[in-house]
Symmetry: D2
C-alpha cells in the first residue's frame, strides 16, 4: 500500500541539498528552517504527495525512502559506503532472497538495512560489531526499517568468538579485514562469496594476500567513481566537485581445493606485470 501511516519512514525533501529521513509520528512535528512540518498533515496521504510548511507555506515533497536515501541519510558513526558500493556488493556477492549473510562491522547499520531488505523473506543478516555506540544506533535503525525479522545485530568480535557455518556470503567493513580471512573462510559454504570494503590500498593488499593464502579464488578489487551530470539546456557537464574516492571493494569466492589426479600442468598466468602488451593499443 502506498498510504503513509503512523510510524512509517518518509524522505522529506525541500530541494537537492535539504532532505531528511524521518519517522512519521502522530501528533508530532518536524521543524525546519523553512517552517514546521506537521506529521498529521502527512498521515493518510500517499507517498509522492507534497505538503506545505506552517506558517510560511514552503512546499515539501514526501517520498518513500529508497536504499540510496538510507545509505546517505542514516546517522553515521563511521566512514561510509556509498549507494554505488552497496549495489556492487549485491552484484558480486549474489546476496539476494534467502541468502544467509554475516556482516562485520555493523557501523550505522545502513548497509545492514540494504542487505536485510534484499534477503527477505527467508534469508538472514547476522551483523556484528564491537563498538557499543554502533550497535545501539544500528539496532535503532533496523527497528525503524522494520527489519528485525531478517536482521540480528549483536556484539561480537569475528576475529575471536563468533561462529557460523554454511553462510552464502561474508561482508566485511573492518579496519583489519585480513585478520578475519582464516576464520570467515570456515563460515562460508563452498562457492560462497566474500566482500570487503576498505578505504586504503594497504588494507586491500593485506586482504588480497590473506585471501590468496586460503581457499579463495576469483579475487577482484574494484573502485567505483560516480559522477553526477548536471543537465541544463545549454550547460550540460559533470559536477565541478565530486567525491573522488569512497573506498576499494575486494571480492572472492570460496573454493574447495582438490589434488589433481592427472598431475595436470598448472594453468598459465593470465596476467603479467610487465606492460609490453600496451604496445598494440597505442596507435595514437
Amino acid at each position: 500500500m502506498n498510504i503513509i501511516k503512523d510510524t512509517d519512514h518518509i524522505l522529506l525533501m525541500y530541494d537537492r541539498k535539504r532532505k531528511w529521513l524521518l519517522k512519521v509520528r502522530q501528533g508530532e512535528n518536524f521543524a525546519t528552517h523553512k517552517g514546521i512540518v506537521y506529521f498529521d498533515d502527512i498521515i493518510g496521504k500517499q507517498y509522492g504527495t507534497c505538503i506545505f510548511t506552517k506558517p510560511q507555506g514552503f512546499k515539501m515533497r514526501v517520498f518513500k525512502p529508497l536504499p540510496s536515501d538510507f545509505i546517505l541519510k542514516m546517522g553515521r558513526t563511521t566512514q561510509i559506503l556509498y549507494p554505488e558500493d552497496c549495489g556492487l556488493i549485491l552484484m558480486y556477492t549474489g546476496i539476494g532472497p534467502g541468502s544467509l549473510v554475516l556482516e562485520a562491522g555493523t557501523g550505522s547499520g545502513a548497509l545492514t538495512c540494504i542487505l536485510g531488505n534484499y534477503v527477505k523473506p527467508n534469508g538472514h543478516i547476522f551483523s556484528y560489531d564491537i563498538r557499543e555506540k554502533s550497535l545501539k544506533q544500528a539496532k535503532k535503525n533496523i527497528q525503524k526499517a522494520k527489519l528485525e525479522n531478517v536482521v540480528s545485530i549483536e556484539y561480537g568480535d569475528i576475529l575471536k568468538d563468533v561462529e557460523h557455518s554454511d553462510l552464502d556470503s561474508v561482508v566485511l567493513d573492518l579496519a583489519t579485514p585480513w585478520l578475519a580471512i582464516k576464520r570467515v573462510k570456515n563460515f562460508l559454504k563452498l562457492s560462497g562469496t566474500f566482500a570487503s570494503f576498505s578505504p586504503t590500498i594497504e588494507q586491500v593488499k593485506k586482504t588480497v594476500v590473506a585471501l590468496e593464502g586460503e581457499e579463495f579464488y576469483d579475487i577482484n578489487t574494484f573502485e567505483l567513481i560516480k559522477r553526477r551530470i548536471i543537465v541544463k539546456e545549454n550547460a550540460t557537464r559533470p559536477t565541478t566537485r565530486m567525491i573522488g574516492h569512497t573506498g576499494y571493494l575486494t571480492f572472492a569466492r570460496r573454493i574447495q581445493e582438490i589434488e589433481n589426479p592427472y598431475q595436470a600442468k598448472k594453468p598459465e598466468k593470465a596476467e603479467k606485470v610487465d606492460l609490453s602488451d600496451l604496445s598494440d593499443i597505442i596507435k595514437l
Copy 2:
C-alpha cells in the same frame, strides 16, 4: 542446497579471461581448448568444487553464478549495462522484494534476470521488447534462470500499446526513452521510481527535459567509472586498459503536484550555472 543437479546453472572458470555460463545436462559435455568437461563429473558435487578436463587434466573451477556473471556472460544482442550499473539501478529505484516493475526493452534479458531475482517471491517484472530476436533470447535466459514465475517477457511497444498502473518502478533501456515518459508516468504509483540507461548525452538531455515537463522530481543523472586494481606484492596499480564508459543512468521519482494554498514563495534554485562557487575551494 549447494549440490549441483541436472539443469542447474554453473559458472565454469579456467582463469580470469576464460569462463563460461553453462547449464549442466546429464550425459552431456562441454568442449574447451583445454579439454572436455563432462557434466556427469559435476552433478552431485557442491558448487565451489573443481574438476579436471579429459584427457588433459586441466583444473576447472565450478561456481554458482552471481548477478555479475549473468550480466557479463549472457548472450547479448545489444549494448549492455554493467554490474555496477545494475547495482546502482537497485539502489536508486528501490526495486526489491515484492516490487512490480516494467522494463523496456528487454534486450538479452540480463538485467531482467537480475531484477527478477530481487523481486522474488511476490514481485513481478513485466518486460517488453519489439525485437523478435531479443524476445526469443531473453525468454530462453529467463527459463534457464528459472524465473518464469516472477518475470513475463512479451512483445510490446511501450510508446503505444502497453498498459499498466500502480507500478513501483519503470526501467528503460531504449534508444528513445524520452518518447516514453508521458505514458510511463501513468503506469507508476506516486513516489514510484523511474530509471533510464543511455549511452549518449543527447539521449540523456532529451530524457531529462521530458521528465521535467511531467510530474517527476529528484531527477539525477549519474555515470559510473569502474576501475579494477591489480594487487601484486610490489606492483599494485589500476589496470592499464579499462572500459571508460558504459552509459548514463537517469533516475526520477513520480510526484503529485498540488497547488500551494499559501501562495508560498517558490523555493530558490539550489544550483546555479555559474561557477563562482568554485572560488572558495581552490585554495591550491
Copy 3:
C-alpha cells in the same frame, strides 16, 4: 640566479592550504594570521629558504613560483583552466619557443603567463578580451611576471575586428568559441593548431561541428580528471573530495584541402557509432 631581489615573485607557503603568490617589495611586509612576513628578511636569500613570522616565529617556506602556482593563485575573474589543462594545451598545440599565438579571452592572464613563458625568447602571445576588468587584471599579472616583451594584451573582439595571419596556434577560452572558427582559421598557418576550453558539452558540440565545416582536421576532444593521492605509511588512498570536472579541451589542426586528382576512394570511416565492437573485450 637563485637570489631573491626586490620586485621578484615568490610563493610563500605555510602549509598545503595556506600559500600566497607575492611580489617582494623592499621595506614592505605581508600580514598573515600566523604573523607578519617582512620582505627585507627575504631579499638577498635564496629561493628555497625559510623565514619566520614576527613576532610569533611561525616557519614559512619561500619558493620560486611554478606554472602550477600561477594558474591556481592568480586572481581569477572567470572560471579557470587547471595546470593539467594548460599542460595538455602545450602538448597538443605544440606552443613552444618562437611560437606566434593568439589567445582569446585573456581572463585573469594565468594561461597567458604560462604560454608567454614557453614562447620565449622569440615568440609572442597576442591576447584579447572584451572585458575591461579582465584586461586590467591580466596586464597587471603580465607585468608582475615580467613578460611584457613576449605578451601583448589588448581590447579586441575576435569575432569581429582582430586581424592576424601566419599564427602557429590559436587558443580560445570563450563562451561561444564556435562563432570564432571561421575567422581564426584564416589567422593560422597551414598545420597550425587550434585549442578551445569549454566547461559544457553543448559548447564542445558546436565547436566541433564548426571545425568540421572548415579546413580543420584531427579534431579531438579530451577531458582530464586529476586525482591527488594521499601517501601515508598505512593509509594511502586518493583524496576523498576532488574537482570532478574543469572543462573539455578541443584540439584541431589547420589543413589545406586539395582536390584528389586520382578520384580516390574516400577513406572508410575509422569509427562507427554502434557498439558491437565491444563484444570481443567483454571476456568478463
Copy 4:
C-alpha cells in the same frame, strides 16, 4: 618557415588510427597498405598540405609533428608517459626556457625531446640511462628532432656515478626512484623541483617516504585520467575503451632547513587520516 625540406620531420596521417612519424628524405618513399608516399611529392610543400598515394590515390595529410605526436609515436623500449603526464611535469616542475635539467632514465627519448624543446635556447637536458638499447634509440631520436645542442644523452647510473649541481629540476623515470633521492637532492639548487613517474603505488610510497626524509617539501602525488569524448550529432559520449592508468607523478621542491630561532610552535598538521571531515559534505 612552414615549407617542408629534406630531413624534416612530418606526421603522415591517413586517419585517426593510421599515422606515422617520419623523416622526409629526398628520392625515397614510404610504403603503406594504402599505397606509396613519395617524399619528393612532399618536399617543397607546406605543412598542412595533403598528398595522394601512388598508384591508388588515397589522400594522406602531412602535419608538423606536435609534442603529443612525439610522445605517442616514438619507438618505445619501455612503458611510457602520455602527453597529459608530460604536460603536468612542465606545470609542476617549471621546466622552461633556460632550465638545467637532469633526466634519468632516458628510455626512448620521447620525454627528453619534449623537455629539450622547452628549455631552448639556453637550457640543457642531461639525460642518463644504463640500458644501451635505450641510449642508442634515444640518441637517434634526439638527432632526428635536431635537439643535439640542448640535450646530451649519456651512459650513467645516477644511483652511483653521475655528478651535477645547481640544477633547476630532476625528472626520474626509474624502476627504483627512491634510491636516487639522497643523491639528486644535492644536484638541485634550492627551490629546485623534483618529478618522478612510476606505474605502481609501491614505488610511489617508497619515493614519498624518501623525499620526506630529505630536504624536500610540498610533496604531491597525482594521477591523470584522460577521456576522449566522441562528438557526433546525436551520439556524443566518452569512448567506450580507454587507458585507465599510465602511472603516478610525484612532485617535490628542494628546501633548505633552518633552525627556528623563535622555537616556534610546529605548524599543525594540515591533513588528518581520519575521515570524520566527510560528515559535512554528505548532505545527499
